[in-house]
């Protein structure tokens, strides 16, 4: 990776550093602002002169959240279950399917690919009512499974597409040499393609994770009872007639804490995964 840089020139590196710092600031300031606001009292937020940092820092907003919503931890639990299951299922299915679209020729492959792509173009909101009726008949409403399944279906098409792209960019020689060694299709897929496709899998994992974690439209319709709600819906119950910005800030902070922590812990592995796609030749 050492030779992957575009410039060695230290002056350019400094310029880059400054630019990156600026960009990072722009990206992170709204989030910081939300978090900082969450520690302010209501009157300091809406009051006469807004300040960036709290004048009288307080945990009032957090107290409000945890006191009124005993089921708060349940929201986290639901979101976690739904997201992890969704990510796992999607990863397995999309890698298999993506490989098939990339390297296993079968009749109608392009048609089905196009069809799968078409599905994701349709506005989800319109499908809500048939999906609600479907789940109602089968008794899946207000269950985690009832949210895992449609969420997977929503992120699956694009994940398949990503994996297909990843697998297509792997040179055919690798596969062919595996074939000559007598490996079955399954073995080729598992032992050769998957390790190299890890960067793509990381992308799929990130994509699914943040989409399912932050998914609101499906969750709002299919989880109407509080114990079944994931975080995104449960948090909106904290909205009064209008959002109190202190509580909104606290809500945002609590909603992004788990993904950010996970990202910071696995950042190295994930980005290594993405960067491992380097192939010689």
């Amino acid at each position: 990776m050492k030779s992957k840089s575009l410039t060695y020139n230290s002056k350019s590196q400094w310029v880059l550093a400054i630019l990156l710092v600026l960009i990072s600031l722009v990206f992170i300031t709204p989030v910081i602002y939300a978090i900082v606001t969450s520690f302010k009292l209501e009157k300091d937020i809406i009051g006469s002169s807004p300040t960036f940092f709290p004048r009288n820092p307080s945990f009032e907003n957090y107290r409000y959240i945890f006191e009124r919503r005993g089921v708060y931890l349940l929201y986290y639990y639901n979101s976690t279950v739904i997201t992890i299951a969704g990510v796992l299922i999607t990863t397995v299915l999309s890698t298999m399917c993506g490989y098939a679209f990339a390297r296993l020729p079968f009749k109608g492959r392009n048609v089905i690919m196009g069809f799968i792509l078409f599905i994701v173009t349709f506005p989800l909101a319109v499908l809500l009512i048939p999906i609600y009726i479907m789940e109602y008949e089968v008794g899946l409403l207000n269950t985690n499974l009832g949210l895992i399944l449609p969420n997977v279906t929503t992120v699956l098409p694009f994940s398949i597409f990503v994996m297909r792209g990843i697998f297509r960019s792997i040179p055919k020689e690798l596969e062919e040499s595996a074939e000559i060694d007598g490996a079955s299709v399954f073995a080729t897929w598992w032992k050769i393609m998957m390790p190299i496709g890890l960067n793509g899998i990381s992308i799929v994992i990130i994509f699914c994770f943040y989409n399912i974690w932050g998914e609101y439209i499906l969750a709002r319709t299919l989880a109407t009872q509080t114990p079944a709600m994931p975080l995104t819906v449960g948090l909106t119950l904290l909205r009064g007639e209008g959002w109190s910005y202190g509580i909104l800030g606290a809500v945002i902070f609590l909603a992004l804490l788990p993904p950010v922590i996970i990202f910071m812990i696995f950042q190295k592995q994930l980005i290594e995964g993405i960067t491992k796609g380097a192939i010689k030749g």
């Binding site: 109608g108 609600y132 819906v233 007639e241």
Partner: protein, 435 residues
């Protein structure tokens, strides 16, 4: 070869689809089962549960009746209740009482005969709860084709919330120090101009903010139309009339105020912007729901904020609506539900609590007397004279189509005549029949 395999796969999928497509229809439960279960399940939005003091009411009810359970569910958005229609049409329901905002919303259930009416099916208006004891506009907004489908719990009406410290400072007070009430829209504009302060190009004190939002423009129009003429309707008594000299004058003044910046456009996309400005001590006059004055008082103190009528509201009325409850026919415990409503939700603690703490007016007239602040006398006058929303089948089209017309006019993209014509054309195109 693969073709056959693909075909087998497709057949499997089709059979799975049939599994989901077919669904046994359950028979609807008979009305009011003989022995009702001792559970009342009530649902409302988060703010409704809070501001109508439902949790405390539930506790008191359970204490009074130890064998009864009250369960409170919170729903995130209106669409959740709309989807309950699917449950109800199959005879099942997760709730016995649903708090909704007005008959307009309940109309979708009435069309499919899914909720009770309170005139004959559930004989509600007896004893202490006869119709004359309710605030007029609350009951009116609960009716569809003259039949009551909703019991109002709180009522609200549009009024003019002001920061009276700013009025004092500008000299807009009478001999006793009470703020002057603008009697015409021109006066309103003059007041706002006096109260508007700009320093170095930045607005430090906004004169007035009007409810010109995408969500509530329709209410603003109905409120001011009624305040100006005593009725929103034209000669046929059914169509909302915009083409009249009073409304033209209103539009003219609104445009003047908007062009000069004296009337703020901040609420275009956010119907809370005005209330936030008020609470931030940056706004002098706010035309919005009267309950906002209590919200302003929460940051500025009750001495700084008060509510007065906007031009015409006290004599001709304003726009009022009720937030109340519906009971689905699928509920197994309608009588217990009604008991809960009568004993607690329309009882003193809730009805006076909601006024004093949150500024939502009670549904029953007698509780106005028990309200703490003198402002409620003003609001009562306004509410009593107010009109409820029209019960057109296509009212939601009216709600959605009016904001762009008004905003385009205020932004100068439509002339006054064009705007009036578009409003009239809109009303003409609506299906004004009630369901």
């Amino acid at each position: 070869m693969t073709k056959k395999l693909t075909l087998t796969v497709l057949l499997l999928c089709v059979s799975m689809m049939l599994v989901f497509a077919g669904g046994a229809q359950e028979e609807a439960k008979p009305l009011g089962a003989a022995v009702e279960p001792k559970v009342v399940r009530i649902t409302g939005q988060s703010w409704m549960i809070q501001k109508i003091l439902i949790e405390e009411a539930a506790e008191r009810f359970m204490k009074d009746h130890p064998d009864v359970k009250v369960e409170i569910l919170t729903y995130a958005e209106d669409s959740v209740i709309s989807n309950y229609a699917i449950d109800w049409s199959r005879g099942k329901t997760p709730v016995d009482i649903a708090i909704v905002q007005g008959a307009q919303f309940a109309a979708q259930f009435v069309a499919r005969d899914l909720i009770y009416n309170f005139d004959d099916e559930l004989d509600f208006f007896t004893g202490d709860f006869t119709r004359d004891k309710f605030v007029g506009v609350g009951l009116e907004s609960s009716k569809i084709q003259g039949v009551t489908y909703e019991i109002p719990l709180i009522t609200e009406a549009y009024a003019l919330v002001i920061n009276n410290k700013m009025f004092e400072e500008a000299g807009l007070v009478d001999a006793k120090g009470n703020p002057l009430v603008p009697k015409t829209w021109d006066e309103f504009y003059q007041f706002a101009k006096k109260l508007h302060k700009v320093q170095g190009g930045v607005v430090v004190q906004q004169g007035a903010s009007l409810q010109w939002s995408v969500t509530n423009t329709y209410a603003m129009l109905l409120a001011t139309l009624r305040g100006a003429r005593g009725t929103v309707y034209g000669d046929d008594g059914v169509s909302i009339s915009f083409d009249n000299p009073e409304f033209r004058e209103i539009l003219r003044i609104w445009k003047k105020g908007a062009d000069e910046g004296v009337f703020s456009k901040e609420m275009y996309g956010d119907h809370f912007a005005g209330r936030n400005s008020l609470m931030a001590n940056k706004l002098a006059m706010l035309v919005d729901s009267g309950s906002r004055w209590i919200e302003g008082a929460s940051t500025l103190g009750k001495e700084s904020v008060t509510v007065i009528p906007f031009p015409g509201a006290d004599t001709n009325g304003s726009y009022g609506w009720g937030t109340g409850i519906i009971i689905p026919k699928a509920s197994p415990a309608p009588n217990l539900a009604m008991q809960f409503i009568k004993e607690q939700l329309l009882g003193q603690e809730v009805q006076t609590g909601t006024v004093n703490q949150y500024g939502k007016m009670p549904a029953l007239l007698k509780y106005f007397e028990m309200a703490e602040d003198p402002e409620w006398a003003v609001m009562k006058t306004i509410a009593d004279a107010s009109g409820a929303p029209p019960t057109y089948k296509e009212f939601s089209k009216f709600q959605k189509a009016t904001p762009p017309i008004l905003q385009n006019f205020l932004d100068g993209r439509l002339t006054l005549d064009q705007a009036i014509n578009e409003f009239e054309a809109l009303v003409k195109s609506l299906d004004k029949s009630t369901i």
